[in-house]
Amino acid sequence: MKILLLCTDAYGGHGGIALFNRELISALAELPECEQIVVVPRVIVHEREPIPDHVQFVFAAARGRFSYMRALMGVLRETRFDLVICGHVNLLPLARLTGQAPLLITHGIEAWKPLRDPLSNRLIHHVRGVVSVSALTRDRFLSWSHFAGETFVLPNAIRADRYGVRSKNVDLVARYKTFGKRVLLTLGRIVAAERYKGFDEVLEVLPELDPNIVYMIAGHGSDVDRLARKAADLGVVDRTIFTGFIEEREKADLYNLADVYVMPSRGEGFGFVFLEAMACGVPVIASCHDGGREALLAGELGTLVDPSNLAAIRVAIADALQHGKRQIPDGLAFFAFERFSERVHEIVRRVSADGRQLR
């Protein structure tokens, strides 16, 4: 089987979607009947991770829009694919160039309401199936698209061996001055468009929590100044830590610095960060109104709160600090890479058996 994956980013990409794509490629590479995988990425911004052996990663595609099309056409001239996977709704018009009905992957908010591009809104009805990272994303996608084909839920994977419960890294403790403090952590892009992550809500309950508790906002973005002003207005500026951009290699230590990972978000398609925090044995608090609910297996692995209810957030934090245990929950195995890979293989076999050409 020859598989073509059109994606925004994967190797050399940053963030949840790139990570998902890397795991997807790894899982596809383990599929016995898969003889070739060609990946056409839209962007490469970082140093690349090692690429699996029989994966062809088309670097030239990441140089711009026209380069992408040129690279894609070149790939299509050389190979006839058995399965085309469209890694993002924004790539649907390009996936049409393959002449095949692709398997579409939806990650989160990009699929929660009609797409800006009218052509893409039509093209979603011509896909072979839709894979969503959570049931919530699938349901929200279905509610506006009325897509009648097959859908699959494929939650993110976590490789727990890359994390683990560790003692607090003394360099980070010194850098962020958290010695003797209890640390709340949220990690994410800090931009206006992602205010739904819940930084504001945690800041707002901070004054009501024990003064020994500090809030670490990890990540970078243009909304940092606003949050800093808000922290000052709330009188918690000395209890709020902005870390700036976090290198991938420091992430496990960063999580281990936290006593509670809290992200009362409204816009997570799934919330891979929760898996990372749990893989470090950190108690987590997520939202009951976005994909975080599924990352916590409906509350089995951590605490779910209504992000609009500040009192509930405050109580959840206090309870987690008082009773939370630093241990990796057994249920995290549900998201192990091996399970992810099995799910990918099942989906690919299912849609391959039911393959059809683009109408």
Partner: protein, 584 residues
Amino acid sequence: MCGISAVFAYRPEAPPVDRDEVAAITQRMFPRGPDAGGTWFSENGRVGLGSRRLAIIDLSPDGIQPMTDTSGNFVIVFNGEIYNHRDLRKRLERNGATFRTHSDTEVLLEMFKHDGPSMVDLLRGMYAFAIWDKRAERMFVARDPYGIKPLYIADDGRTVRIASQVKALLAGGKISRAADPAGVAGFFVTGSVPEPFTTYAAIHAVEAGNCFFIDRDGPANAFCHYSIANIYRRAHLQQEPVATLVEPATLLREFVTESLAYHLFADVPVGAFLSAGIDSTTLVALMTAERHEPPRTITLSFEEFRGREQDEAPLASRFAAEIGAPHTSRIVTREEFLADMPRFFDQMDQPTIDGTNTWFVSKAAAEQGLKVAISGLGGDELFGSYPSFRELPRIVRLARVPLATRILRNPKAKSIARYGQNLAGAYLVKRGLFMPEELHSVLPEDVAREGLQRLDIAQRIRNVIDVDPGTDFGRIATLESALYMRNQLLRDTDWASMAHSLEVRTPLVDAFLLRQLAPLLIVGGSKTKDYFAASARPPLPDYLRNRRKTGFSVPLKEWLDLPPDGTTTRMRSWARHVFERVGR
């Protein structure tokens, strides 16, 4: 759902609690709780608690009140439902609590022990309760955010008395029946008695969303644990893109379905009131989807409305048939109304011009064996579908045009010029039954003057939006929710349904739901109602979506041959009629 009472002789010089008084107060609320009843008295005779129980959750005797905790230090009487009690129970269990029963009452007891008064921030439900803390020798009293469940208090400076009904407090025989002109004036101005007044000077309503302690110094200042105005203000100031992340109809379906799921929890069957309006039909559609079967539905029908647009029965029946709901279209006649009137007025706790519709639909539901019914009440306030959302800004604009009101024929034209300079004043004009300057036509001059002075209705309305909700939509929604809905719709729904031992649940009147939806409501405004109609799966049929809004009315004019009073509904005449029977 229950009727509760509490008497606390807090000053040393107060006589001990009279057991017969507590029994009499509690017994007056028998229809609120026909399944069981009980009283509890402290060993020192300073505290008495009483309860009548309508068993809905945990039907076993374990749920009987007053309920004492295992330590014997805390005793509770509780009226209402805590819809998220299972979530709260799990949390308490994680924190080491153990439970003897499955009831929400015991969860409240344990929460008070664990969280103290801040417990109210976590409660999703309708409630009024009193918890006696034996060690601290004080009582904690709380009422739900919207005031769905009533609670009244009478404090004579030595003993405080609390009950779910004004008439129950009076039944104890120890409270003065002297009238309160402010409450009386408030009834004629607004059509219901505005909180915290009652028509009796010695009795006040515990205001919605308030809680307080009572100790040896008497009731402490109440603190407000929920503000509708604040919710809208926060949504306005946040300017967060949350509301635009998801399709509005999808978001509404998710949040309202969640609210419904909580409101449907019961150990008895749950039915639904069904009209031809968007709110009740959408709720029934969402209930059907949530439970995978339609609920039993009830509609009222009146001969006098047959063939007119007020007759909602044909469309409601059609919709019920389409979704396969077991449906009752109950015909109410003039003869039945007249026969029921003595009981109707006996059960009416405070004078009100509304409540007839709820009385009969509750009666019909009880006849079908229902103990619980879902109502679409609150949808107009939440989704901005009252005419007031359009008309109040117009009144304000009109009032600001010099001499404009002089050319109007509307009988309220003078009032527009006088009050309509701001939204609060415009609200008085729009919702007012009698304008303050008209009260001398229904009340003695001195009563009207004193009543109006203490009532200070214009200021009272302004106070509701003292914390500015930020947008006209938020301001009007706050006014409608905190005044008309609270003082009239919810109060009437309580006594009129309880008279038939029926618990009415209102998933659209939910503090959690408002917090969740406020960002969307601010953005969507009155269009949200259309989104709500579209949220059902499949969407509501056109014959419901395109129907003109009529309101849930009863042909009182025809039944009582009410004299002309300058209004089309003759509500002013009806108000006089009601006051003769209940207000004096």
